[in-house]
Symmetry: C2
Subunit: 440 residues, 2 copies
């Protein structure tokens, strides 16, 4: 039998349920594995073994009939999300040792469902810069795991946690998902409370979820109350008959060989399995979307980081100082044009996406770049964040250096459950036939 | 000389500056006044005399050249906004004694400017119900001070603080402003960080500010970094030549005699002083705005209160349980129609408002109702919250029972500074000639 630390959430739940594993045994296995790997991967900003074990033991005391839907499942939390019993430090010297002693809404929901909160994972500063933390890519420590949810993506890929929370304002959930070869899910904006995670941009910030299986994401979706208007069909026949759009987007010029190859393979496999695939382009009205995202982000950053700017400017990253000082030069009029422009595109995109079961789009320009100084480029992600739509990175392909490259599936807003069902059958095809397999 | 507790913020700053008053003397005066009035007005949820006095003494130690723009100014904080040294309890049994030990963004900015945080003021549950806290209207303890920022509005009216923070998701800042006869300012959505205040609806929640003078609001606007694209003209000639729109709105049927009278008087006074006043109606495309606000509010409430629902449903108000359980029956499609519908109206409103220096709209249906069980009706406020525009309640009129009734000035988004300048000259006219004077 595999070591407990290798279990998915669903796998662990089954073993807790049939009595073959205790939460304490499970937690012990995870902690031992983390201890071995932390010196290389450095995914964790804070991890308290005693706290984890005492909570694991407490969970073991709960009678079976009173257990929650995530009973005992270990969850890593990005260190921009409040946890009442651990510090939340945002990778900022300003918040060293800061411990607000309150749970973020997401953490409250997870705990109330029986989850075991493991610890806090490394992030870029306030999840708002592309300067990497010390975390490395578990598949190659010479490469970035992406960011800003660096530790969360790396921990799930490296079997240090089956589930992790991230956030996304540009590409902070999907990019690490692709670079680390795991499922990453950014639900519809507003569908899960973002209370208790650091604000960068209210209209962009979204909670993100990592897992190594779609089944696990479905359990999370249920716990978080994601609910489409229509209960989605469970696909019994794989991808056969499903309608996929393919959209390379207006920034396809950024695609490297790894992405081009993955897109060709991914589409080819779906076609070969009987899916209907239609490539299309954005209408011209979408052309300013990437620029509008930038304008919103930097302008909202002025509001978001004013407190830190006033109290500890010398400890703030230069890029964030520039947001507050408006070196970008955007006026309020520019902001409103971008804000209203994106708002007008949302229903237009929903109408386009409603023609398909899912739309296949890039996750990243290519496999994870070398070095950990920069967490990479969010150019293929930010438009979907701005449009508020659900996005899932599905792993399955390999680049020129053997590193993973995923592709994203997206849909119209509040089709989160439907998208998960599609991601499940797509993932099965791509994982089996995509040619990339984790060696971890 | 008047007692220090009666000073506006600007008045207190002048006395600190010329050395005729220390912050400790000022704080002592306020605390004595609060002690006298708290048994009747009950504006405070938490007030720690020792903490206030020790901070006042610390402020007095700061050399003059290092003092901030709000040096020593006492500020009341609505109890849904985090303060690191005081509990934040949201008028919810679930959060009794809860103390996250972190400052909300707004409080960080105020402290960094030298403000003296006095204490926490009473609110309806999570600023999300209309069930009044125990706070009474200082002008008539048999009447509501409005809500949800009940304590903040009452405290400023009753000279228990010159400045208070509120929040607005429907009419929670403007309504208490009108009922208590003080200035209340809801800035453009997104212009001031709402980080660290309880979330009800991300797209609606806005920080609100109370003061007894527009000069004080201008100091706050500067501290919070509100900045229009164009530096607004200071009006040297009163309201003469200013262009005002008058918009009774599609819900004017809710207007009582007090509002009708105030609107007639307010408009008449401006005309008499040489302003150009044009009454107009919303285009028909705005007709669903009040309903859309309701749909957004209740649907977002489902997301916002899920954590409390899962952990302590029995301690949650029935109206909030109903949000989570979706007894309203709104679908995701209904929500998106409302969300996108309001988004499309925002630039349309900006275009309309740009024809005027300000648009005069109702603040409330009438003077504060009797009893404190309900905090009143937000029907005239919620549309402006949804449109994200700046709104200022200007006091000045009296109703049939001698209670205050204000009117609101609004404008297009990010014309906060310009609106303050207009409010100043309008307020001067209405206060002098409006016939209502506080007896407190």
């Amino acid at each position: 039998m595999a070591e407990p630390y290798r279990l998915t959430a669903t796998g662990a739940l089954a073993q807790f349920n049939n009595g073959s594993l205790t939460v304490e045994e499970y937690a012990t296995s995870l902690l031992q594995h983390i201890d071995e790997r932390q010196p290389v991967v450095k995914a964790w900003e804070y991890l308290n073994h005693d706290l984890v074990l005492s909570q694991a033991r407490a969970l073991d005391q709960i009678p079976k009939e009173q257990r929650g839907p995530l009973h005992g499942v270990a969850i890593a939390v990005k260190d921009v999300i409040y946890t009442k019993d651990m510090p939340t430090q945002h990778n900022s010297a300003i918040y060293t040792g800061s411990n607000p002693e309150i749970d973020a809404a997401s953490v409250t929901i997870l705990r109330s469902s029986g989850a075991l909160i493991l610890g806090k994972t490394c992030t870029t500063e306030f999840a708002a810069t592309v300067k990497g933390p010390e975390t490395t890519n578990p598949h190659d420590p010479g490469r970035t795991p992406g960011g800003s949810s660096s530790g969360s993506g790396a921990a799930v890929a490296d079997y240090q946690a089956p589930i992790a929370l991230g956030t996304q304002t540009g590409g902070s959930t999907i990019r690490p998902g692709s670079f680390n070869g795991v499922y990453a899910f950014k639900p519809t904006w507003g569908a899960i409370s973002r209370e208790g995670q650091k604000v960068y941009s209210l209209i962009l910030d979204t909670l993100g979820l990592y897992a190594r299986s779609v089944e696990d994401l479905k359990v999370l979706a249920s716990v978080f109350g994601l609910k489409d208007d229509r209960v989605p069909e469970v696909k019994e026949d794989g991808v056969r008959g499903l309608r996929f759009g393919v959209l390379k987007t207006m920034v396809w010029e950024h695609a490297g060989p790894g992405l081009k190859d993955a897109m060709a393979k991914g589409v080819g496999l779906l076609k070969a399995r009987g899916a209907e695939v239609t490539e299309f382009e954005f209408p011209s009205t979408f052309s300013k979307l990437p620029d509008w995202h930038t304008i919103i982000l930097k302008s909202d950053g002025r509001t978001a980081f004013r407190p830190e700017y006033l109290t500890a400017k010398d400890q703030l990253d230069q890029s964030l100082i520039e947001h507050v000082e408006e070196t970008h030069g955007y006026t309020r009029r520019d902001y409103l044009e971008a804000y209203d422009g994106v708002a007008a595109l949302r229903p237009k995109w929903d109408e386009i996406a409603s023609r398909y079961d899912a739309v296949i789009v890039p996750s990243v320009p290519d496999e994870a770049p070398e070095g950990i100084a920069s967490t990479g480029n969010a150019i293929f992600n930010s438009m979907w964040t701005a449009l508020h739509v659900p996005v899932i990175n599905v792993p399955g392909f390999g680049g020129q250096n053997g590193m993973p490259i995923g592709l994203s599936l997206t849909a119209s807003r509040y089709h989160d459950q439907a998208l998960l069902e599609v991601a499940k059958v797509v993932g099965e095809v791509w994982e089996k036939e995509g040619g990339w397999t984790s060696k971890l």
